[in-house]
């Protein structure tokens, strides 16, 4: 406990984690610092703390999720909170209730934290204006997925010691990806150089204005990179024809040993999951313990979410 107290140098006043865009550099380093302390805790035999004892955390998921939801659930439980997970996919909303009404109903039960995933960009922003508790964004539409970016940064720091000065390639369906956007904001703030690699139809308009270089040729985009971050093809968000076929996509944008050779020798492979093996990534590469840190991302995800729950939980 002593070490955590010592690290409380930066005071984070805001109660909501809506996106990386809303965070400052000191706030980010504070989250990463605190998360580090939880990495060790999570590996120990006694994982339970009482930092959030007596607090109630509601996981409000309007979109199906396995890893993020279980990660938040575990994080809350390890900090001693009472955690309730709600999948709204087939609940009140189907009966015509609006997001605000659902939120007000839950708010009446006095939760301390609501962790929300929603298919509409900006939904957590709306929620945060209407409830008294903390709101943590677990992914909204194509906008942001801040805890994913934070855990990616923590994974990189864990392996490379820093983010500053590294060259990061983010490859794949940038257009539909909240992970890409959050990572672009975060890696930029932490001083990395960012390449985005995608076919033109999967690059958002004016993406360069977010501070990245964009490439349609994966070989050029991977050149000299330290981190290769692969994204999932989000077929469920795609309307109309973005690509000729999965086969053509894999040929030009799938991560294969050949293409990986263009990156630095010790480049790490990352993927936010879930993976489409053989669509965006070669199945052997995904499992290569020397290069792939995909499992580690999941592991550190719990630590990051513990730090975020602790920091943003409304102090009363």
């Amino acid at each position: 406990m002593a070490i955590i107290k010592k690290l409380k140098a930066v005071k984070i006043d805001q109660n909501h984690l809506l996106g990386i865009q809303e965070l400052s550099f000191p706030q980010i380093t504070e989250i990463l610092k605190q998360a580090k302390t939880f990495i060790t805790l999570n590996k120990s035999s006694s994982k339970k703390m009482d930092i959030l004892r007596g607090k109630t955390q509601i996981n409000l998921f309007f979109e199906p999720s396995t890893r993020t939801q279980s990660s938040f659930e575990l994080a809350g439980k390890r900090l001693g909170a009472d955690v309730m997970s709600m999948n709204i996919v087939n609940s009140a909303i189907k009966k015509g209730e609006t997001l605000i009404d659902t939120a007000m109903t839950l708010n009446a039960m006095h939760p301390d934290i609501i962790v929300m995933r929603h298919q509409d960009s900006g939904a957590p922003n709306l929620l945060s204006q209407k409830v008294n508790c903390s709101v943590i964004n677990a992914g909204d539409g194509r906008r942001e997925h801040p805890t994913q970016a934070l855990l990616d940064a923590l994974t990189i720091i864990n392996r490379k010691g820093k983010v500053e000065g590294l060259k990061v390639a983010i490859c794949g369906d940038i257009l539909h990806s909240r992970v890409a956007r959050s990572n672009i904001y975060l890696m930029n703030m932490l001083g990395a150089e960012i390449n985005v690699v995608a076919p033109k139809t999967l690059l958002p308009h004016s993406i360069e204005k977010l501070g990245v270089k964009s490439f349609t040729d994966m070989k050029k985009g991977l050149d000299n990179c330290d981190i290769v971050m692969m994204l999932r093809l989000q077929n469920e968000r795609m309307q109309g024809s973005f690509l000729p076929s999965a086969r053509e996509y894999y040929e030009f944008y799938g991560l294969t040993p050949d293409k990986l050779k263009l990156a630095n020798k010790d480049a790490l492979i990352m993927h936010p999951g879930p993976m489409n093996r053989g669509v965006e990534i070669d199945t052997n590469l995904a499992d290569d313990i020397n290069r792939s840190v995909i499992r580690e991302q999941v592991e550190l995800g719990v630590a990051i979410r513990m730090a975020c729950l602790k920091i943003f939980c409304k102090k009363s």
């Binding site: 609006t98 929603h118 960009s121 900006g122 922003n125 958002p204 308009h205």
Partner: protein, 428 residues
């Protein structure tokens, strides 16, 4: 009624190129009897009642070509009475109402209903537009001839665009024979499908699906191509992008005959105003970049754009208190049309006469109405305003039934003092 003598006003009437201190006489039938500097205190009988306008500006009542009223079907958003109250407080005396009601205004009995309701419940002149196609579904054209006979002066699918090129070409062909006015909301449905705001850096940052400028441009280009073959009266309801304006400029240079409108929202706001997902700024066409806004302002200035409309689209609060993707589209605006238009005068973007023309005489001329000017013998539909009076928009004070103003707390300069309809004081 008794004759009224309005004196000591600055009279601006773009049609008659009038801008002078003078007066206006309203005869006992509510018509304009005399206007101009010769109507002065000294020339008038001392016994009559005079209204001293104290050098404030007197213009023809505003003619707003694009207004949504909730009757029938959406009375909880706006009815004729609330629309009328909102309109007169903004100096608007005539409106063209859009047919996107429930049911749609696509047949003569609906027109009868609207005319009756409009007459009984509102003070302003309501000119209902009928839809171009049955149930605004873009397939079967409405009975232009019969509807015209009922007094319909314009046809439009309102918030919808006729997508099928064959249907649109036939509509324009048919309209050319009956001399009907076609007003198109230019948007390709497929290009704009699920789109929420302008496609660009902001849509990328907010993670909202963009509406490309091409969705508008491509329809304008298509329709202007048809216009080469079918000479109908064609009006583009409102445009939003610089690229569309360039198409219009070229077509005018080629001698094509058509007119263009713009929403005051697209002249006064840009996509940055959406900020943190402000659903009140979810509009169609969407707010675009500052460059687009400036180009549109220049378009009004150069005369490429003829008309400024409020695009008054009342939406109840519930339909806006949703995520951006789910929230209703449109903004209330009839009450702030004049002061927002005056903003473009105060910031020296556009000359006053040109602006007033774009909200009075130009729309009236396109519609073929005897409105929007101070011609002798016209109905005395008038607006008197203080061009300098500062005020702040407060949605709770709006007269419209819905309070979805996109300019809450905006500081405006210029306020309506009096509105006359057919010679009677309707406001002030």
């Amino acid at each position: 009624m008794k004759e009224k003598y309005l004196v000591n006003a600055r009279i601006i009437d773009p049609k008659n190129d009038l801008d002078e201190i003078g007066g206006l006489i309203i005869d006992s039938n509510g018509l304009i009897k005399a206007v101009g500097k010769k109507v002065a205190n000294g020339n008038l009988p001392s016994s009559v009642e005079k209204i001293d306008l104290k050098k404030q500006i007197l213009i023809p009542g505003l003619v707003d070509m694009r207004v949504f009223v909730g009757e029938p079907g959406f009375e909880y958003k706006e009815n004729f009475r609330t629309l009328s109250n909102a309109a007169v407080s903004g100096g608007v005396t005539s409106v063209v109402s859009m047919p996107n009601t429930y049911p749609v205004i696509d047949n003569v009995s609906m027109v009868d209903f609207l005319k009756r309701r409009g007459r009984d419940k509102s003070k302003i002149n309501i000119f209902p537009a009928a839809s171009l196609t049955k149930n605004v579904d873009g397939k079967q054209m409405t009975e232009f001839g019969l509807l015209k006979r009922k007094g319909i002066i314009a046809f439009t699918d309102g918030i919808k665009t006729v997508q099928d090129p064959e249907v649109m070409s036939r509509i324009m062909n048919f309209a050319s024979q009956s001399n009907s006015l076609i007003m198109q909301h230019a948007e390709d449905n497929i290009l704009s499908r699920n789109g929420l705001i302008n496609e660009g850096e902001i849509s990328t940052r907010l993670g909202l699906k963009g509406i490309p400028f091409l969705a508008e441009k491509i329809i304008v280009e298509r329709d202007l191509s048809f216009l080469e073959e079918y000479f109908c009266r064609y009006h583009i309801s409102q445009i939003s992008s610089e690229k569309t304006l360039a198409v219009i400029q070229k077509a005018k240079k080629d001698g094509k005959n058509f007119t263009t409108g713009v929403s005051i929202n697209n002249l006064s706001l840009n996509e940055n105003d959406i900020g943190d997902f402000k659903t009140f700024l979810k509009l169609s066409p969407p707010l675009r970049t500052e460059n687009d806004r400036k180009a549109l302002v220049e378009g009004v200035n150069s005369g490429l754009i003829d008309v400024i409309v409020s695009d008054h689209k009342p939406q109840d609060e519930e339909s806006k208190r949703l995520t951006f993707a789910q929230a209703a589209t449109g903004a209330s605006g009839i009450e702030t049309l004049l002061p927002l238009t005056l903003e473009l005068f105060h910031n020296k973007s556009i000359k006053l006469k040109k602006l007033i023309s774009a909200i009075t005489f130009n729309p009236s001329k396109i519609l073929g109405l005897n409105k929007g000017s101070l011609d002798i013998g016209n109905d005395a539909d008038l607006c008197v305003f203080d061009i300098n009076k500062p005020w702040v928009v407060d949605k709770s004070k709006l007269k419209s039934k819905s309070k979805n103003t996109p300019i809450e707390n905006r500081k405006l300069q210029g306020q309506v003092l009096k509105t006359f309809i057919k010679g009677e004081i309707a406001y002030g």
